[in-house]
């Protein structure tokens, strides 16, 4: 487990030259904004968080206190990183300047509107390994977890 040197929630700020720290930009949407504390704008929140270099998405989620049952569609730098039922982002290592967007579990992105969009390598690998090749709208219902 990587330890957090410290966290900072607020405006983006320069990190200096420290090699052991990174700063990521996190957008939380809908009910998830309550995990942003005072940065919540009701429907959304934008926060900048300082992490130790080497932190993963799981570390970030732990820091935010964001429970699995509320986490929905997730992006890392504009690439689809996770969907409800596809926890493909947990082990992704974050880097300085990354933008992470997390929607509530009740959000949606139907297949035809993400067909051909940017996917993280982990999501691509997951889809390629499925019998249905990922051609579904949602993945969280047991009957659709065809593998």
């Amino acid at each position: 487990m990587v330890s957090f040197l410290f966290t900072y929630r607020g405006m983006r700020r320069p990190l200096g030259t420290a090699q052991d720290r990174i700063q990521v930009e996190v957008w939380l949407y809908g009910p998830l904004t309550r995990y942003a504390g005072e940065a919540s704008r009701g429907s959304h929140a934008q926060i900048f968080i300082d992490l130790a270099a080497g932190c993963t998405m799981q570390d970030l989620l732990t820091l935010l206190g964001l429970p699995d049952e509320e986490k929905g569609i997730t992006f890392i730098n504009g690439s689809l990183a996770a969907l409800p039922g596809l926890d493909t982002d947990r082990l992704v290592t974050l880097h300085d300047g990354d933008r992470i967007g997390i929607s509530h579990r009740k959000s949606m992105w139907p297949f035809q509107y993400r067909f051909g969009a940017s996917l993280t390598e982990e999501v691509q690998e997951e889809f390629r390994g499925r019998r249905d090749r990922g051609v579904h709208h949602a993945y969280a219902t047991p009957e659709n977890d065809s593998d």
């Binding site: 957008w27 949407y29 809908g30 704008r41 009701g42 429907s43 959304h44 934008q46 569609i73 992006f75 730098n77 504009g78 689809l80 409800p84 967007g101 929607s103 509530h104 579990r105 009740k106 959000s107 949606m108 992105w109 139907p110 297949f111 035809q112 509107y113 993400r114 067909f115 051909g116 969009a117 940017s118 691509q124 889809f127 390629r128 249905d132 090749r133 990922g134 051609v135 579904h136 709208h137 949602a138 969280a140 219902t141 009957e143 659709n144």
Partner: protein, 583 residues
Amino acid sequence: MAKLLRLNMTDRTVALQDLPEAYRLLGGRGLTSAVVHDEVDPQCHALGPSNKLVIAPGMVTGTSAPTSSRLSVGGKSPLTGGIKEANAGTGFAPALASLGIRAIVVEGYPQSAGWWMAHITWNAASGKPDVTWLPADEYAGRDLYEVFPQLFDRFGKVSVAGVGVAGELRYSNSGVVFEDQEGRPARYAGRGGLGAVMGSKGLKFIVIDRKGAPGVPLANKEVFELGRKKLTDALMSHAITKPKGALNSYGTAVLINILNEAGGLPTRNFSSGRYENAAQIAGEAVFEGNKERLGKELYNHACSPGCIIRCSNTWHKPDGTEHVSCQEYESIWAFGANCGIGSLDDTGELIRLCNAYGVDTIEMGCTMAVAMEGGLLQFGDAKRAIELMHEVGKGTPLGRMLGNGTATAARLLGVRRVPVVKGQAMPAYEPRAVKGIGITYAIATMGADHTSGYTIAPEILGVSGKVDQFDRDKAALARNFQYATGFIDSTGHCLFIAFAILDIASGFEGVVEECNGVLGTSWTMADVGRIGKDVLDRELAFNRAAGIGKAQDRMPEFMRLEKLPPHNVTWDVPDSTLDAVFE
């Protein structure tokens, strides 16, 4: 026996004919496209005497099938020059179906000036619908929010199809308007300028009073009920379509934040894929804004009778009074991100004005963005955009320029970034960032149309293992999406049932069984591709004869030349892939 109702605007004669055998198993888009294919000269002028306006409820519309009050409106499009089917959810659809009318065909050409409306009632004595012609000049040139209540005061509980000022002025961007559940002029068969076709016929309104009408007969009630229950169960349990699910909570605008994060939200006339103020105009913001202004949570409502998805929202003013219904994804985006306007109050007013004057929000928002790029106003200038919308409603020369669509405005303003395919403006998904929707835009028979390629799982269509989202050649998958959509559009179901039936196969079985229960057929799921293909084949044949071929199945040049932030990607799908879709 089911009927076709012909309204001849040359002499205002009416013909009620038995539904031809060739049309017996058709409904919705399948029927409108068949009539247009069979009866309209593809080379005709869209606003001339040879074009026809066809209005058809779906196969199961008017029954208790869930979320099935959809209506197709067809004709030759003055915007694209090709075949058009525009679709709306409205009480007009089941009202028409309940009269035993499978389609209204508006034809002919008026011989004198003046506006008319057709008042359709059920005659119990004759067992047939009656049509009465009434002058409608008193309603012309006016805000539809004023006119609709007057129609309901005059005729009681009726359903209305009509045109606003835009249709009267024959704008290429004019829709056919229908009432929503609260009687607002808010449900539009908006795309492709079919309001201008109706306006060219001198037909202002069609008013239906369904009182005493017999309803839609079932050929096999047991089979229908089996199917209805399966589909209902699927819709009520799927995460996207269930009560208090994604659509019921946040509406379609839940996609604003998603597409923005994906870098696929067209911004400032398709110059970027990410808008810095997107979160302020997203579905989550609509929900929170209403909660703050009303002091309670407000979930969405049904746009039409019998819808159990309930994704239509109402936006409220700061004092808690109603502003507009509805602020859905494409409409918010068109005036929001695409125009650099980050206020739901502003997008709400612009959408309300589209409803009031009778134009399509997607086309109008794209036109406004082109006008911004052309220097007519600045990006983000909501005040001026609202003023320009009033110009559209007044029919000033400037308003007429803007009312005739994105391509027309771009040509007049010397703008080269023109986000259209076949003359129709693109909806709210950036094709450079989401390549699959780009293929759909390019090859759709309707011009750039996000609703023509809805997904049904390949295994359901019987092509499992033959298509793959990771294949470089995506033609086969795109083709199957087109066929699946052609089928759903014909059933009378809202396309959003696709969200559930893709993932829950029994729901899809239910749709087919509903159709069998109404039509007396013995279709299986294997028939769906064939039925959808028939729809597309007719539309493609019409377009080819109208001069719209593969050379028009292309994305605009700027998308191949300009890299789209934040992914910095261009449109790079080979033309050979597009050409292969319908080969």
